[in-house]
Protein backbone atom coordinates (compact mmCIF):
# COMPACT_ATOMS: atom_id res chain seq x y z
CA UNK A 1 0.00 0.00 0.00
CA UNK A 2 1.13 3.54 -0.58
CA UNK A 3 1.36 5.94 2.35
CA UNK A 4 -1.93 7.57 1.38
CA UNK A 5 -3.71 4.23 1.27
CA UNK A 6 -2.21 3.21 4.60
CA UNK A 7 -3.33 6.47 6.18
CA UNK A 8 -6.87 6.03 4.88
CA UNK A 9 -7.07 2.35 5.85
CA UNK A 10 -5.90 3.11 9.39
CA UNK A 11 -8.44 5.88 9.79
CA UNK A 12 -11.23 3.49 8.77
CA UNK A 13 -10.03 0.77 11.10
CA UNK A 14 -10.02 3.24 13.99
CA UNK A 15 -13.58 4.23 13.18
CA UNK A 16 -14.70 0.59 13.15
CA UNK A 17 -13.04 -0.04 16.48
CA UNK A 18 -14.74 2.98 17.99
CA UNK A 19 -18.11 1.78 16.69
CA UNK A 20 -17.34 -1.60 18.25
CA UNK A 21 -16.58 0.19 21.50
CA UNK A 22 -19.86 2.10 21.38
CA UNK A 23 -21.69 -1.19 20.77
CA UNK A 24 -19.90 -2.72 23.74
CA UNK A 25 -20.85 0.12 26.07
CA UNK A 26 -24.40 0.22 24.71
CA UNK A 27 -24.78 -3.56 24.93
CA UNK A 28 -23.47 -3.55 28.48
CA UNK A 29 -25.97 -0.87 29.37
CA UNK A 30 -28.84 -2.74 27.73
CA UNK A 31 -28.09 -6.01 29.49
CA UNK A 32 -27.73 -4.25 32.80
CA UNK A 33 -30.94 -2.35 32.35
CA UNK A 34 -32.67 -5.65 31.69
CA UNK A 35 -31.04 -7.73 34.42
CA UNK A 36 -30.78 -5.09 37.13
CA UNK A 37 -32.45 -1.96 38.27
CA UNK A 38 -32.67 0.91 35.82
CA UNK A 39 -31.99 3.56 38.47
CA UNK A 40 -28.73 1.79 39.30
CA UNK A 41 -27.67 2.20 35.70
CA UNK A 42 -28.24 5.92 35.90
CA UNK A 43 -26.13 6.20 39.05
CA UNK A 44 -23.30 4.30 37.35
CA UNK A 45 -23.57 6.50 34.27
CA UNK A 46 -23.24 9.65 36.37
CA UNK A 47 -20.22 8.32 38.28
CA UNK A 48 -18.63 7.29 34.97
CA UNK A 49 -19.22 10.72 33.52
CA UNK A 50 -17.59 12.53 36.45
CA UNK A 51 -14.69 10.10 36.38
CA UNK A 52 -14.27 10.72 32.65
CA UNK A 53 -14.12 14.49 33.07
CA UNK A 54 -11.63 14.24 35.91
CA UNK A 55 -9.20 11.97 34.08
CA UNK A 56 -9.60 14.03 30.91
CA UNK A 57 -8.55 17.21 32.68
CA UNK A 58 -5.59 15.71 34.51
CA UNK A 59 -4.32 13.46 31.70
CA UNK A 60 -1.57 15.67 30.25
CA UNK A 61 0.09 16.74 33.47
CA UNK A 62 0.39 13.31 35.00
CA UNK A 63 2.45 11.87 32.15
CA UNK A 64 5.33 14.36 32.49
CA UNK A 65 5.69 13.79 36.22
CA UNK A 66 5.39 10.02 35.94
CA UNK A 67 8.08 9.71 33.25
CA UNK A 68 10.47 12.25 34.81
CA UNK A 69 10.53 14.44 31.69
CA UNK A 70 12.14 17.89 32.14
CA UNK A 71 12.01 20.91 29.81
CA UNK A 72 14.94 20.81 27.38
CA UNK A 73 17.39 23.71 27.40
CA UNK A 74 17.89 25.18 23.92
CA UNK A 75 21.57 25.90 24.48
CA UNK A 76 22.16 22.36 25.67
CA UNK A 77 20.20 20.59 22.89
CA UNK A 78 20.49 22.78 19.75
CA UNK A 79 20.25 19.79 17.39
CA UNK A 80 17.04 18.55 19.03
CA UNK A 81 15.48 22.01 18.78
CA UNK A 82 16.46 22.32 15.14
CA UNK A 83 14.95 18.95 14.26
CA UNK A 84 11.70 19.47 16.21
CA UNK A 85 11.15 22.94 14.75
CA UNK A 86 11.81 21.73 11.22
CA UNK A 87 9.52 18.73 11.52
CA UNK A 88 6.80 20.86 13.15
CA UNK A 89 6.86 23.14 10.09
CA UNK A 90 6.75 20.17 7.74
CA UNK A 91 3.81 18.75 9.70
CA UNK A 92 1.98 22.08 9.54
CA UNK A 93 1.49 22.25 13.31
CA UNK A 94 0.19 25.61 14.59
CA UNK A 95 3.29 25.95 16.77
CA UNK A 96 6.40 24.06 17.78
CA UNK A 97 5.44 21.93 20.79
CA UNK A 98 7.45 22.38 24.00
CA UNK A 99 10.33 19.91 24.13
CA UNK A 100 11.15 17.70 27.12
CA UNK A 101 14.11 15.46 27.78
CA UNK A 102 14.17 12.31 29.92
CA UNK A 103 17.47 11.22 31.46
CA UNK A 104 17.47 7.60 30.38
CA UNK A 105 19.83 5.49 28.32
CA UNK A 106 17.03 3.53 26.70
CA UNK A 107 16.12 5.20 23.39
CA UNK A 108 12.49 6.25 23.32
CA UNK A 109 10.20 9.22 22.72
CA UNK A 110 6.59 10.17 23.31
CA UNK A 111 4.05 12.90 22.68
CA UNK A 112 1.39 13.98 25.18
CA UNK A 113 -1.17 16.72 25.75
CA UNK A 114 -4.80 17.05 24.77
CA UNK A 115 -4.67 19.26 21.67
CA UNK A 116 -2.07 20.50 19.14
CA UNK A 117 -1.97 23.72 21.16
CA UNK A 118 -1.17 22.10 24.49
CA UNK A 119 0.82 19.10 23.28
CA UNK A 120 4.48 18.49 23.99
CA UNK A 121 7.11 15.96 22.94
CA UNK A 122 9.68 14.22 25.07
CA UNK A 123 12.75 12.21 24.07
CA UNK A 124 15.22 10.25 26.15
CA UNK A 125 18.91 11.13 26.20
CA UNK A 126 19.52 7.60 24.94
CA UNK A 127 17.59 8.40 21.78
CA UNK A 128 19.64 11.55 21.17
CA UNK A 129 22.88 9.61 21.54
CA UNK A 130 21.82 6.72 19.34
CA UNK A 131 20.13 8.39 16.37
CA UNK A 132 21.57 10.29 13.44
CA UNK A 133 19.85 13.52 12.46
CA UNK A 134 17.93 11.78 9.69
CA UNK A 135 16.67 9.08 12.06
CA UNK A 136 15.83 11.62 14.75
CA UNK A 137 13.74 13.44 12.17
CA UNK A 138 11.84 10.23 11.45
CA UNK A 139 11.16 9.58 15.14
CA UNK A 140 9.94 13.12 15.76
CA UNK A 141 7.79 13.06 12.63
CA UNK A 142 6.14 9.96 14.09
CA UNK A 143 5.56 11.74 17.42
CA UNK A 144 4.29 14.96 15.86
CA UNK A 145 1.93 12.85 13.73
CA UNK A 146 0.40 11.61 16.97
CA UNK A 147 -0.18 15.25 17.87
CA UNK A 148 -1.49 16.27 14.47
CA UNK A 149 -3.81 13.26 14.23
CA UNK A 150 -5.21 14.05 17.71
CA UNK A 151 -4.12 10.61 18.86
CA UNK A 152 -3.45 11.80 22.35
CA UNK A 153 -7.03 12.96 22.62
CA UNK A 154 -8.32 9.74 21.08
CA UNK A 155 -6.25 7.49 23.33
CA UNK A 156 -7.19 9.47 26.44
CA UNK A 157 -10.83 9.17 25.46
CA UNK A 158 -10.47 5.43 24.90
CA UNK A 159 -8.62 5.02 28.20
CA UNK A 160 -11.41 6.88 29.98
CA UNK A 161 -14.02 4.63 28.33
CA UNK A 162 -12.09 1.56 29.43
CA UNK A 163 -11.97 2.97 32.95
CA UNK A 164 -15.69 3.63 32.91
CA UNK A 165 -16.48 0.11 31.69
CA UNK A 166 -14.22 -1.40 34.35
CA UNK A 167 -15.68 0.78 37.06
CA UNK A 168 -19.27 0.09 36.06
CA UNK A 169 -18.69 -3.66 35.82
CA UNK A 170 -16.94 -3.78 39.15
CA UNK A 171 -19.60 -1.72 40.84
CA UNK A 172 -22.49 -3.77 39.48
CA UNK A 173 -20.73 -7.05 40.11
CA UNK A 174 -20.44 -6.22 43.81
CA UNK A 175 -24.04 -5.14 44.05
CA UNK A 176 -25.32 -8.26 42.35
CA UNK A 177 -23.25 -10.50 44.61
CA UNK A 178 -24.35 -8.80 47.82
CA UNK A 179 -28.05 -8.99 47.07
CA UNK A 180 -29.98 -6.39 45.16
CA UNK A 181 -31.08 -6.75 41.58
CA UNK A 182 -34.48 -8.16 40.81
CA UNK A 183 -34.61 -11.89 40.81
CA UNK A 184 -38.31 -12.47 40.47
CA UNK A 185 -39.71 -14.00 37.32
CA UNK A 186 -38.49 -17.58 37.66
CA UNK A 187 -36.29 -19.18 35.03
CA UNK A 188 -36.22 -16.32 32.55
CA UNK A 189 -35.15 -13.92 35.28
CA UNK A 190 -32.40 -16.27 36.34
CA UNK A 191 -31.04 -16.62 32.82
CA UNK A 192 -31.08 -12.87 32.38
CA UNK A 193 -29.23 -12.52 35.66
CA UNK A 194 -26.59 -15.05 34.61
CA UNK A 195 -26.17 -13.30 31.28
CA UNK A 196 -25.74 -10.01 33.06
CA UNK A 197 -23.06 -11.47 35.31
CA UNK A 198 -21.19 -12.95 32.35
CA UNK A 199 -21.33 -9.61 30.55
CA UNK A 200 -19.92 -7.88 33.60
CA UNK A 201 -16.93 -10.22 33.65
CA UNK A 202 -16.25 -10.12 29.92
CA UNK A 203 -16.86 -6.42 29.25
CA UNK A 204 -13.72 -4.99 30.90
CA UNK A 205 -11.49 -7.48 29.09
CA UNK A 206 -13.14 -6.75 25.77
CA UNK A 207 -12.73 -3.02 26.42
CA UNK A 208 -9.00 -3.39 27.02
CA UNK A 209 -8.60 -5.49 23.88
CA UNK A 210 -10.32 -2.83 21.79
CA UNK A 211 -8.19 -0.14 23.41
CA UNK A 212 -5.01 -1.98 22.46
CA UNK A 213 -6.24 -2.58 18.92
CA UNK A 214 -6.88 1.16 18.56
CA UNK A 215 -3.42 1.91 19.93
CA UNK A 216 -1.72 -0.39 17.40
CA UNK A 217 -3.78 1.12 14.59
CA UNK A 218 -2.65 4.62 15.55
CA UNK A 219 0.99 3.51 15.58
CA UNK A 220 0.75 2.34 11.98
CA UNK A 221 -1.01 5.59 11.12
CA UNK A 222 1.67 7.71 12.81
CA UNK A 223 4.36 5.80 10.93
CA UNK A 224 2.67 6.41 7.59
CA UNK A 225 1.92 10.08 8.18
CA UNK A 226 5.36 10.59 9.73
CA UNK A 227 6.93 9.24 6.55
CA UNK A 228 4.68 11.53 4.54
CA UNK A 229 5.73 14.58 6.58
CA UNK A 230 9.46 14.14 6.11
CA UNK A 231 9.18 12.47 2.72
CA UNK A 232 11.76 10.03 4.06
CA UNK A 233 10.19 6.78 5.23
CA UNK A 234 13.59 5.16 5.11
CA UNK A 235 14.90 7.44 7.87
CA UNK A 236 12.06 6.38 10.15
CA UNK A 237 12.52 2.72 9.21
CA UNK A 238 16.24 2.97 10.05
CA UNK A 239 15.33 4.47 13.42
CA UNK A 240 12.85 1.67 14.09
CA UNK A 241 15.51 -0.88 13.21
CA UNK A 242 17.85 0.71 15.76
CA UNK A 243 15.10 0.59 18.38
CA UNK A 244 14.56 -3.05 17.52
CA UNK A 245 18.21 -3.87 18.11
CA UNK A 246 18.23 -2.03 21.42
CA UNK A 247 16.84 -4.05 24.31
CA UNK A 248 17.01 -1.62 27.22
CA UNK A 249 13.83 -0.90 29.13
CA UNK A 250 12.75 2.67 29.62
CA UNK A 251 12.95 3.29 33.35
CA UNK A 252 9.94 5.40 34.18
CA UNK A 253 7.27 4.17 31.82
CA UNK A 254 4.43 2.47 33.63
CA UNK A 255 1.99 0.42 31.60
CA UNK A 256 -0.59 3.21 31.78
CA UNK A 257 1.45 5.49 29.52
CA UNK A 258 3.16 2.81 27.43
CA UNK A 259 0.96 3.43 24.41
CA UNK A 260 2.31 6.98 24.00
CA UNK A 261 5.90 5.98 23.28
CA UNK A 262 7.31 5.32 19.82
CA UNK A 263 8.02 1.73 20.77
CA UNK A 264 6.83 -0.33 23.69
CA UNK A 265 9.00 0.87 26.59
CA UNK A 266 8.47 -2.43 28.42
CA UNK A 267 10.66 -4.62 26.32
CA UNK A 268 9.42 -8.14 26.03
CA UNK A 269 12.10 -10.65 25.25
CA UNK A 270 12.01 -10.60 21.48
CA UNK A 271 11.44 -13.92 19.85
CA UNK A 272 8.49 -15.81 18.54
CA UNK A 273 5.30 -14.16 19.70
CA UNK A 274 2.05 -16.01 19.71
CA UNK A 275 -0.83 -14.21 18.07
CA UNK A 276 -2.67 -14.46 21.39
CA UNK A 277 0.00 -12.49 23.22
CA UNK A 278 0.15 -9.88 20.49
CA UNK A 279 -3.49 -9.09 21.28
CA UNK A 280 -2.23 -7.49 24.47
CA UNK A 281 0.47 -5.33 22.88
CA UNK A 282 0.20 -1.56 22.72
CA UNK A 283 2.43 -1.46 19.64
CA UNK A 284 2.60 -3.61 16.51
CA UNK A 285 5.86 -5.54 16.18
CA UNK A 286 8.67 -3.28 14.89
CA UNK A 287 9.37 -5.75 12.11
CA UNK A 288 5.83 -5.31 10.76
CA UNK A 289 6.07 -1.53 11.01
CA UNK A 290 9.36 -1.52 9.12
CA UNK A 291 7.86 -3.82 6.48
CA UNK A 292 4.99 -1.39 5.85
CA UNK A 293 7.37 1.53 5.46
CA UNK A 294 9.47 -0.53 3.06
CA UNK A 295 6.42 -1.41 1.01
CA UNK A 296 5.28 2.21 0.72
CA UNK A 297 8.74 3.64 0.14
CA UNK A 298 10.05 0.99 -2.20
CA UNK A 299 13.31 0.40 -0.30
CA UNK A 300 14.81 -2.49 1.66
CA UNK A 301 16.77 -2.31 4.89
CA UNK A 302 19.41 -4.87 5.67
CA UNK A 303 17.82 -7.57 7.84
CA UNK A 304 18.42 -7.23 11.57
Amino acid sequence: MTLQEQIRANRWRTLWLLILFALLVGGLGAILGFAFNLSLLIVVAIIGFVYAIFSWLSAGKIVASVTGAKPADRAQYPRLYHVVETVAIAAGLPKTPPIYVIEDNAPNAFAAGRSPQTAYVAVTTGLLNLMSERELEGVLAHELSHIRNHDVRLMTLVAVLVGVVALASDFLLRISIFGGGRRSGGNAGLIAFALGLAALVIAPIAAVLIQLAVSRRREYLADASGAEITGDGEGLALALRKLQLDTQETKHAPRAVAHMFIENPLNQASGIQSSFRSLFDTHPPLEARIARLEEAGGFHLAPA
Binding site: E85, T86, I89, A90, A91, G92, P94, I229
Partner: protein, 186 residues
Protein backbone atom coordinates in the same frame (compact mmCIF):
# COMPACT_ATOMS: atom_id res chain seq x y z
CA UNK B 1 -47.94 15.52 -0.44
CA UNK B 2 -45.35 12.82 -1.06
CA UNK B 3 -43.88 14.82 -3.91
CA UNK B 4 -43.48 17.75 -1.59
CA UNK B 5 -41.64 15.66 1.01
CA UNK B 6 -39.33 14.24 -1.65
CA UNK B 7 -38.65 17.73 -2.93
CA UNK B 8 -37.89 19.00 0.55
CA UNK B 9 -35.57 16.04 1.17
CA UNK B 10 -33.69 16.64 -2.07
CA UNK B 11 -33.34 20.33 -1.23
CA UNK B 12 -32.06 19.49 2.24
CA UNK B 13 -29.47 17.06 0.87
CA UNK B 14 -28.33 19.63 -1.69
CA UNK B 15 -28.00 22.30 0.96
CA UNK B 16 -26.05 19.94 3.21
CA UNK B 17 -23.72 19.09 0.36
CA UNK B 18 -23.24 22.78 -0.39
CA UNK B 19 -22.41 23.64 3.20
CA UNK B 20 -20.04 20.69 3.64
CA UNK B 21 -18.20 21.40 0.40
CA UNK B 22 -17.89 25.07 1.16
CA UNK B 23 -16.50 24.42 4.63
CA UNK B 24 -14.08 21.86 3.27
CA UNK B 25 -12.80 24.27 0.65
CA UNK B 26 -12.38 27.03 3.22
CA UNK B 27 -10.48 24.72 5.55
CA UNK B 28 -8.16 23.55 2.78
CA UNK B 29 -7.60 27.09 1.57
CA UNK B 30 -6.71 28.21 5.07
CA UNK B 31 -4.28 25.33 5.44
CA UNK B 32 -2.59 26.42 2.22
CA UNK B 33 -2.48 30.01 3.46
CA UNK B 34 -0.85 28.90 6.71
CA UNK B 35 1.60 26.88 4.67
CA UNK B 36 2.46 29.93 2.60
CA UNK B 37 2.90 32.03 5.75
CA UNK B 38 5.41 29.45 7.00
CA UNK B 39 7.42 29.79 3.79
CA UNK B 40 7.23 33.56 4.01
CA UNK B 41 8.69 33.56 7.52
CA UNK B 42 11.75 31.63 6.36
CA UNK B 43 12.18 33.72 3.20
CA UNK B 44 12.16 36.85 5.32
CA UNK B 45 14.58 35.37 7.80
CA UNK B 46 17.00 34.65 4.99
CA UNK B 47 16.49 38.06 3.47
CA UNK B 48 17.45 39.59 6.83
CA UNK B 49 20.46 37.34 7.13
CA UNK B 50 21.96 38.03 3.71
CA UNK B 51 23.37 41.57 4.39
CA UNK B 52 25.07 40.31 7.55
CA UNK B 53 26.58 37.43 5.65
CA UNK B 54 27.83 39.73 2.89
CA UNK B 55 29.34 42.10 5.46
CA UNK B 56 31.07 39.22 7.21
CA UNK B 57 32.67 37.98 3.99
CA UNK B 58 33.55 41.52 2.86
CA UNK B 59 35.67 41.96 5.97
CA UNK B 60 38.06 39.31 4.71
CA UNK B 61 37.57 39.27 0.95
CA UNK B 62 36.73 42.82 -0.08
CA UNK B 63 37.71 42.37 -3.73
CA UNK B 64 35.09 39.69 -4.52
CA UNK B 65 32.81 42.52 -5.61
CA UNK B 66 31.05 40.61 -8.36
CA UNK B 67 29.85 37.89 -6.00
CA UNK B 68 28.56 40.46 -3.49
CA UNK B 69 26.68 42.30 -6.19
CA UNK B 70 24.97 39.21 -7.51
CA UNK B 71 23.88 38.25 -3.98
CA UNK B 72 22.55 41.73 -3.24
CA UNK B 73 20.70 41.87 -6.55
CA UNK B 74 19.21 38.42 -6.06
CA UNK B 75 18.05 39.44 -2.59
CA UNK B 76 16.35 42.57 -3.92
CA UNK B 77 14.66 40.53 -6.65
CA UNK B 78 13.49 37.96 -4.11
CA UNK B 79 12.01 40.67 -1.92
CA UNK B 80 10.01 42.01 -4.81
CA UNK B 81 8.76 38.69 -6.14
CA UNK B 82 5.05 38.25 -5.52
CA UNK B 83 3.18 34.98 -5.68
CA UNK B 84 4.53 31.49 -4.99
CA UNK B 85 5.80 30.72 -8.49
CA UNK B 86 7.73 34.00 -8.86
CA UNK B 87 9.02 33.75 -5.29
CA UNK B 88 10.24 30.22 -5.94
CA UNK B 89 12.13 31.33 -9.02
CA UNK B 90 13.73 34.28 -7.25
CA UNK B 91 14.52 31.97 -4.37
CA UNK B 92 16.44 29.64 -6.67
CA UNK B 93 18.52 32.54 -8.00
CA UNK B 94 19.29 33.76 -4.49
CA UNK B 95 20.17 30.24 -3.38
CA UNK B 96 22.64 29.94 -6.26
CA UNK B 97 24.22 33.31 -5.48
CA UNK B 98 24.58 32.39 -1.81
CA UNK B 99 26.22 29.11 -2.77
CA UNK B 100 28.77 31.01 -4.84
CA UNK B 101 29.38 33.34 -1.90
CA UNK B 102 30.03 30.38 0.39
CA UNK B 103 32.26 28.79 -2.23
CA UNK B 104 34.29 32.00 -2.42
CA UNK B 105 34.65 32.09 1.35
CA UNK B 106 36.26 28.65 1.25
CA UNK B 107 39.42 30.32 0.00
CA UNK B 108 39.84 32.44 3.14
CA UNK B 109 40.86 30.33 6.15
CA UNK B 110 40.66 33.31 8.52
CA UNK B 111 37.08 33.96 7.44
CA UNK B 112 36.11 30.34 7.89
CA UNK B 113 37.53 30.40 11.41
CA UNK B 114 35.63 33.55 12.39
CA UNK B 115 32.97 32.84 14.95
CA UNK B 116 30.57 35.38 13.52
CA UNK B 117 30.76 33.79 10.08
CA UNK B 118 30.28 30.30 11.50
CA UNK B 119 27.18 31.40 13.39
CA UNK B 120 25.75 33.02 10.26
CA UNK B 121 26.48 29.92 8.23
CA UNK B 122 24.74 27.78 10.80
CA UNK B 123 21.72 30.00 10.79
CA UNK B 124 21.59 29.85 7.02
CA UNK B 125 21.61 26.06 7.18
CA UNK B 126 18.80 26.19 9.74
CA UNK B 127 16.76 28.47 7.48
CA UNK B 128 17.28 26.28 4.42
CA UNK B 129 16.14 23.15 6.28
CA UNK B 130 13.04 24.90 7.54
CA UNK B 131 12.37 26.41 4.14
CA UNK B 132 12.48 22.93 2.62
CA UNK B 133 10.10 21.68 5.32
CA UNK B 134 7.71 24.59 4.81
CA UNK B 135 7.81 24.02 1.05
CA UNK B 136 6.91 20.36 1.45
CA UNK B 137 3.96 21.19 3.68
CA UNK B 138 2.75 24.04 1.49
CA UNK B 139 2.91 21.98 -1.70
CA UNK B 140 1.01 19.15 -0.01
CA UNK B 141 -1.76 21.50 1.09
CA UNK B 142 -1.94 23.09 -2.35
CA UNK B 143 -2.09 19.66 -3.92
CA UNK B 144 -5.00 18.65 -1.69
CA UNK B 145 -6.79 21.96 -2.18
CA UNK B 146 -6.41 21.95 -5.95
CA UNK B 147 -7.47 18.31 -6.20
CA UNK B 148 -10.73 18.99 -4.37
CA UNK B 149 -11.21 22.12 -6.43
CA UNK B 150 -10.90 20.18 -9.66
CA UNK B 151 -13.00 17.17 -8.77
CA UNK B 152 -16.65 16.80 -9.56
CA UNK B 153 -19.07 17.86 -8.09
CA UNK B 154 -17.10 20.22 -5.82
CA UNK B 155 -15.87 22.00 -8.93
CA UNK B 156 -19.35 23.47 -9.49
CA UNK B 157 -19.54 24.94 -5.99
CA UNK B 158 -15.96 26.15 -6.17
CA UNK B 159 -16.50 27.95 -9.48
CA UNK B 160 -19.71 29.59 -8.30
CA UNK B 161 -18.16 30.80 -5.06
CA UNK B 162 -14.96 32.05 -6.66
CA UNK B 163 -12.38 29.65 -5.23
CA UNK B 164 -9.16 29.94 -7.17
CA UNK B 165 -6.46 27.35 -7.72
CA UNK B 166 -3.21 28.06 -5.92
CA UNK B 167 0.31 28.01 -7.33
CA UNK B 168 2.90 25.53 -6.13
CA UNK B 169 6.16 26.72 -4.64
CA UNK B 170 8.57 24.76 -6.80
CA UNK B 171 12.24 25.49 -7.07
CA UNK B 172 14.43 24.28 -9.87
CA UNK B 173 15.95 21.88 -7.40
CA UNK B 174 12.68 19.93 -7.47
CA UNK B 175 12.94 19.55 -11.21
CA UNK B 176 16.59 18.58 -10.90
CA UNK B 177 15.81 15.97 -8.23
CA UNK B 178 13.51 14.17 -10.63
CA UNK B 179 15.25 11.08 -11.91
CA UNK B 180 16.79 11.64 -15.31
CA UNK B 181 15.69 8.95 -17.66
CA UNK B 182 18.15 8.17 -20.38
CA UNK B 183 18.28 5.31 -22.78
CA UNK B 184 21.56 3.92 -24.03
CA UNK B 185 22.18 4.81 -27.64
CA UNK B 186 22.46 1.88 -30.01
Amino acid sequence: MIALIVLAAVAAVLLLFLVLTFNRLVRLRNEAKTGWANIDVQLRRRSDLVPNLVEAVKGYAAHERETFDSVTQARAAAQQASGPAAAAQADTVLGGALNRLLAVSEAYPQLRASENFLALQQELADIEDKLAAARRYYNQTVYRYNTVLQSFPAVIVARALGFQQREFFETEADARDAPAVSFPQP
